[in-house]
Amino acid sequence: MQIAYYPGCTMKASARQHEDAALAVLGALGVELREMDEWNCCGVVHSLTSDNLIRHMAPVRVFARLREQGADEVATLCDMCFNTLGRANLLAQRHPEQIAAISATSGDDLSYDGGADVLHLLQVLRDRVGFAKIRARVRRPLRGLSVYPYYGCKLLRPAEVGIDDPETPAVLRDLMLALGATVVEGSLQTQCCGAYHVVNRDEVVTQRVSATTEQARAGGAEAIVLSCPLCHYNFDALQPQSGAQMPIFYYTQLMGIAFGLDPDQLGLEEQQIALLPLLERHNLVHAPTPGD
């Protein structure tokens, strides 16, 4: 299986471990992501006001380039990119006149009809590969590892863009169960982490992160598993400010562990909060022997 791939900026910066792990895991599943030749930042957030067309130019340009490069669907790992591209798709379908205006202003040909499919990697895994196949690929089940799936906002809302039920999502739970992990759930799984406030209002983020990790801990979880690179940064970098140290995994990293892949491919050391001690406790990676 081969799918065009739009990484988004953060997969090349703070979330490189997610991309590394994803490519390794997909390799094991026979899926090839082919990165677009030339791409630009999607703009990260959907412009919410009616008169701000220039802010739609970035995602529309991504689609125009995708089409130029001969693709009709594109996969992404980043929840922000997924959401922004998905909402731009809706805009193109519902307001072709706005796309025409954007195209005319830009001086480039940005005509786009909203017809390309945007796939989140979790959709690829669930709907194309299938969790049954993933379960069959597991070599080292995550037995005994108790995780709290965290969805945040962009994977789920608005419902017309989201990949799962906005109130009671199941995709991460089902994936974790397929890997053999124990799942702890709670009411804060789908609540916002504070997002970009990390730039200059990080107390908002710290408060959200602290409440969520506390709920996870109280439910018996040892780790949080998530998808969004902004959530990941917030939980990993700001959690220590609230005194907690719960490991934060990308689901791709846990898939790689369960698949028995070389941990070096999974960027396990690139987090602020260490992942290896927990994995070692559950014998999911080989503990380094002294003098090694």
Binding site: G8, C9, C41, G43, L48, T49, C153, R157, A195, Y196
Partner: protein, 134 residues
């Protein structure tokens, strides 16, 4: 009997602007408070989303001086749950944009500390600039 509760003058102008930019009809809100109850960032706001709508409709002063619409990140939790199908995130977006147009940027990029910039995911900065600057 119809009771129209609308302020005149500047406040009315603000309401009209918000409605135009957001594409939402604020009169549709029946003030059930579901949005405020759903909002994960309500604790950091100085006025709940329902109250923002109320203040706008009643033409109460100083709505643009509030912090709430800067706190809202558009997570769409309230939007999903609003029984009146009002896109509250767009109302907040409209207020941000009006404020930026009137008072300038809400974020001074040049003053962000280098240490933070060294680590931040690019998406955090891009999103923050898109929401806080013109």
């Amino acid at each position: 009997m119809t009771i129209t509760m609308r302020a005149g003058g500047e406040a009315d102008e603000l309401l009209r602007k918000v409605e135009t930019l957001s594409g939402q009809n604020l009169a549709g809100c029946y003030q059930c408070g579901t949005c405020a109850a759903s909002c994960p960032l309500r604790g950091s706001m100085d006025l709940g989303p329902d109250a923002i709508i109320r203040h706008l409709r009643f033409g109460l002063p100083d709505v643009l001086d509030r912090q709430s619409f800067w706190v809202c990140v558009g997570c769409d939790g309230c939007v999903e749950r609003c029984p009146r199908d009002i896109d509250i995130a767009r109302i907040m977006g409209a207020l941000r944009q009006i404020s930026i147009q009137e008072n300038g940027d809400h974020l001074v990029v040049a003053q962000l500390p280098a240490a933070a910039l060294r680590k931040l995911p690019p998406i955090a900065l891009v999103a923050s600039m898109r929401r806080n600057t013109g």
